[in-house]
């Protein structure tokens, strides 16, 4: 059996040899180069564009302005399964190029040139005349009367107001003896920072357009390119090679429609759009900044009587994934710590900023920031131990979400907590670090998290798989669920080998998705790959096994129920005798003059279940108060992702999520200029994602409770690791200093502000810092 084993990644060898081909490596050098002209105002209208000078630059093939793109269609960009119900379709508010400018960095023209220097020169030579409107950058400001409106269909800029009502909040708070704890918590705009920027190229063959794209969602891209160009979806072919990370940014359709349109405009000539890093920051997608307001009414025994959450989610200029992010976060609120009386109001609001879309965690990192900072505050206010307080209130075993039917089958939270507490010596350190005084103080902090795998029942969950047997008994496996660095192909290989009974080396997962040949699948998102693909893999492998054994029955005259496939051999189960190898069977099947069969199987699973995936982080910090700096000393994540298909790869994936969480908690924030709306730190120097020197050793631990609904006992792990890290760090800093920092990240600017407010610089005692 291979599931559960630390099998080496199937793509690792090519990757360490440097021969793995990514989009740019595959593009022919004859490609025209596309560059996009982005708006230099935050809100307004393009009145005119003078391209005459740009057109005269040698090497320029063509300039295409927003006025040239009037024949294209509005399209949605979210990497969601399409809905045939118009009520549930994503908002189609994007144009290939736009005359209406809604953020600083909007796409208003495209330059096509023979080389990148000419393209860059042409960009600088285009003169744009705008009619400028006032703009709004703050999410709550944007909801006020009289402020600039981004989309006329959405008054007060509210894309959606999501509500949850449970019990009777107003009545419940009248209970005598309750303590009210209230706080505002805020997360920043951050960006995915996959190291390969978004890139795609397009070329026509006959009447069809082929787009090769660094995407997580090839089949969705095909649909959206069709929608944008107003052509049949079958006229579009999308190919996804290996990609250099995605993290949700590439779960949006980004510039594939533009690239395809330019290709079509240029008679089908090969065109390539390689987005520079600065534009990746500003004009791709970002994570929603969310400001949350939580009020909890707590009984003296530490239970909740009533709770309320208001969340303001900064959508930026276009709908993209829209309210579904805030909705997912809102949905977590009444579940992580269930309470009889709950009110949730989540507003997703347009502002004149970069567009927010999916990013690792999909609303949960923001929700956990608010909820787990608040939980710490409540425990502190009630004078209760933070661990005991959480154990008392956390979702109990047997909890069932009436909407998704998700169930907490195991005592996951307590098991994860126990493991994390033991690994970090939390209880001892928690006591030891109380009441410190000096300049440098230590603290230890904790956060749980709630997550659920996949998108059912909000959206379709489906996966298709094809297996084709080769003459040597090996097989190709194809799925629409994509390898984006997480190791999906390796997990699929292990699963297939186990179900079919063949050696790992006999399974060739076709990594590249090509919508012309790959079975339909919606791609990599929602931590769904192993969970969702698992159903299709098991079902298809069983189907293929049945066909193989049926053929073996023909050849061996043994009844199929006495046959099995083990280690790539057909065996008779009654005496375990090897009757033939898979290679012998496959060769015979293909070339038989009497009964030639091309043994293959293809099937689709529609999945109508979903699975919780929970865990926690504990972080230990050292705070240098005068320096306003936090040093992370130790960090542990514990996850229950069900059965681990590949523990080593699971661990690696957790490390990556922890790293992203560390950046979220300590350093990352995309800044926008108040005066112009321009992003200020749109590069990897000024945007501070953590480096090799900003981490301690990262520790990933697991609790493996097999998920009963799952084809392989497994469930989501891609996004969860990023969810609990930042609040754990914040709670550790709170423990160390007594200063609650409610706005992420805890960078020096923020700590300086909070330490100053709390007067901590003057209170560091003898020998300490005292100039303030």
């Amino acid at each position: 059996m291979y599931v559960g084993k630390n099998v080496t990644r199937v793509d690792a060898r090519d990757k360490v040899l440097g021969r793995t081909k990514y989009t740019d490596d595959l593009c022919d050098k004859s490609a025209y180069i596309v560059r996009i002209l982005h708006s230099s105002i935050a809100h307004g209208r393009v009145v005119s564009m003078d391209t005459s000078q740009a057109e005269g630059i040698p090497g320029v093939v063509g300039i295409f302005t927003c006025f040239d793109a009037r024949d294209t269609h509005s399209f949605p960009t979210a990497g969601h399964p399409w809905s045939t119900d118009p009520e549930h379709q994503d908002v189609a508010d994007r144009r290939i190029l736009t005359e209406e400018v809604r953020f600083y960095g909007d796409d208003i023209a495209a330059v096509v040139a023979e080389d990148e220097v000419s393209a860059a020169q042409a960009l600088r030579a285009i003169q744009v005349e705008y009619e400028e409107y006032p703009f709004v950058l703050d999410v709550q400001e944007a909801m006020k009367e009289g402020v600039p409106q981004l989309h006329k269909e959405y008054p007060n800029n509210i894309l959606k107001h999501t509500t949850i009502r449970k019990g009777n909040y107003e009545e419940a708070i009248k209970e005598p003896g309750l303590t009210k704890v209230e706080g505002w918590y805020e997360t920043p705009t951050v960006q995915h920072c996959h190291i390969e920027n978004f890139i795609c190229y397009a070329q026509m063959e006959g009447e069809r357009i082929t787009v090769v794209s660094s995407t997580q969602i090839p089949h969705i891209v095909r649909r959206v390119v069709g929608q944008a160009l107003g052509i049949g979806w079958g006229k579009v072919r999308v190919i996804k090679p290996y990609i250099g990370g995605g993290f949700g940014n590439k779960q949006d359709v980004l510039y594939e429609p533009l690239c395809a349109w330019l290709c079509w405009k240029l008679g089908g000539h090969l065109v390539k759009l390689d987005v520079p890093r600065e534009e990746t920051f500003v004009s791709n997608r970002v994570r929603h900044a969310i400001r949350s307001h939580i009020i909890s009414w707590v009984r003296p025994d530490g239970t909740y009587a009533a709770r309320k959450l208001e969340a303001f989610s900064d959508q930026g200029a276009y709908a993209s994934h829209g309210h579904s992010i805030a909705a997912k976060g809102a949905g977590a609120f009444p579940q992580l710590y269930p309470c009889e009386n709950v009110e949730v109001d989540a507003y997703t609001v347009f502002t004149n900023k970069s567009v927010a879309g999916a990013m690792r965690g999909y609303g949960i990192p923001q929700a956990m920031w608010a909820v787990e900072c608040h939980t710490e505050d409540v425990a502190a206010r009630m004078g209760m131990d933070p661990v005991a307080f959480r154990r008392r209130n956390v979702m109990p075993v047997g909890f069932v979400d009436p909407f998704s039917k998700n169930e907490l089958y195991h005592d996951t939270f307590n098991q994860c907590l126990d493991k994390a507490l033991a690994a970090t010596d939390y209880q001892r350190k928690y006591k030891e670090y109380q009441n410190q005084t000096g300049e440098i103080r230590r603290g230890i902090g904790l956060s749980l998290f709630w997550y659920n795998t996949a998108v059912w029942p909000i959206s379709l969950e489906t996966s298709s798989c094809r297996m084709v047997l080769n003459q040597d008994g090996s097989l190709q496996v194809q799925l629409g669920e994509t390898e984006i660095g997480q190791g999906a192909d390796t997990a699929y290989t292990q699963m297939t080998a186990d179900v079919l009974g063949v050696p790992l080396s006999s399974v060739h997962v076709v990594s590249c998705q090509d919508t012309d040949v790959t079975p339909f699948g919606t791609g990599a998102y929602a931590s769904r790959q192993t969970y969702t693909a698992g159903f299709a893999i098991r079902q298809t492998a069983l189907l293929l096994r049945e066909r193989i054994l049926a053929y073996a029955h023909e050849l061996t005259r043994m009844p199929p129920y006495n046959l099995d496939i083990v280690d790539g051999n057909i065996i008779r189960t009654t005496d375990n005798r090897v009757l033939m190898t898979m290679g012998e069977l496959s060769t015979e099947a293909l070339y038989s003059l009497t009964n030639s069969q091309h043994l293959s199987a293809e099937s689709t699973s529609q999945i109508k279940s979903n699975a919780y995936s929970f865990g926690c982080t504990i972080a230990e910090v050292e705070v240098d108060i005068p320096m306003c700096k936090v040093k992370l000393l130790d960090i542990v994540n514990v996850h229950d992702a069900g059965t681990l298909i590949n523990p080593a790869l699971a661990e690696a994936q957790v490390h990556g999520g922890m790293s992203m969480g560390i950046g979220y908690g300590l350093s990352e924030k995309l800044l926008f200029d108040e005066k112009t709306g321009r992003a200020l730190n749109d590069n990897l120097l000024d945007y501070k994602l953590s480096t090799f020197m900003d981490h301690p050793r990262l520790r990933a631990l697991f609790v493996e409770n097999p998920e009963p609904t799952s084809a392989f006992g497994t469930k989501g792990l891609g996004e969860p690791p990023a969810c609990p890290v930042a609040p754990a760090i914040r709670n550790a800093v709170y423990h160390a200093t007594g200063v609650a920092v409610n706005e992420a990240p805890l960078n020096p600017h923020n700590l300086f502000r909070r330490f100053t407010e709390e007067g901590i610089f003057t209170a560091t005692g003898k020998g300490g810092f005292n100039h303030v």
Partner: protein, 175 residues
């Protein structure tokens, strides 16, 4: 405007080569476009991500901000030059595989070349120094943890410290 070219002769992955190169080209451009060495990746083009890192005369450089014409007379090593003639992996490549230090793989070539520079010094670096020497690369998948382990293990093995190398374990086992 007439284009300006220069004949650039250098050694790439042990092989003497020469080509007329546009003086405007970066070394990344030359290696990727003229020599099709596509392990040299473009992640930022301003020397911040390290994906285009190659070794020139024994030292690591971000080839995106290195003019191709400066390669004249230099010895350049890219990831493609590490494996043996029959595709045998070098120890550091094997370690990246064994330690699950590769995920999307886009930053891996740059990281491996920095590791090679360290390993060629044949001395034992502290953990802090390993981190510092590898810090010219950004990775969003791995959190650097397994890369750290791959480099440290290989360094110790090359110094004959097999036992110490084996002791470099997953932090998971620290419990």
């Amino acid at each position: 405007m007439s284009r300006q070219y220069k004949l650039v002769s250098c050694t790439i992955n042990g092989k003497p080569v020469e080509k007329m190169v546009d003086v405007r080209a970066s070394l990344t451009d030359m290696l990727r476009d003229d020599y099709r060495l596509t392990s040299v990746k473009k992640g930022c083009e301003v020397g911040e991500c390290g994906a285009c890192n190659v070794i020139i005369n024994g030292e690591c450089f971000n080839s995106c901000i290195y003019l191709a014409v400066w390669a004249q007379g230099k010895e350049i090593l890219t990831l493609e030059g590490l494996a043996g003639p029959n595709g045998e992996l070098s120890d550091i490549q094997q370690a990246f595989m064994d330690e699950a230090a590769v995920q999307c793989g886009f930053c891996s070539p740059g990281f491996i070349m920095s590791a090679v520079e360290i390993l060629e010094e044949k001395r034992e670096l502290s953990d802090e120094d390993i981190r510092k020497r590898m810090s010219g690369h950004l990775c969003r998948c791995t959190g650097y943890e397994n890369i750290f382990r791959a480099v440290k293990k290989t360094m110790l093995k090359r110094l004959g410290k097999e036992k110490e190398a084996e002791a470099v374990t997953h932090c998971t086992l620290k419990v």
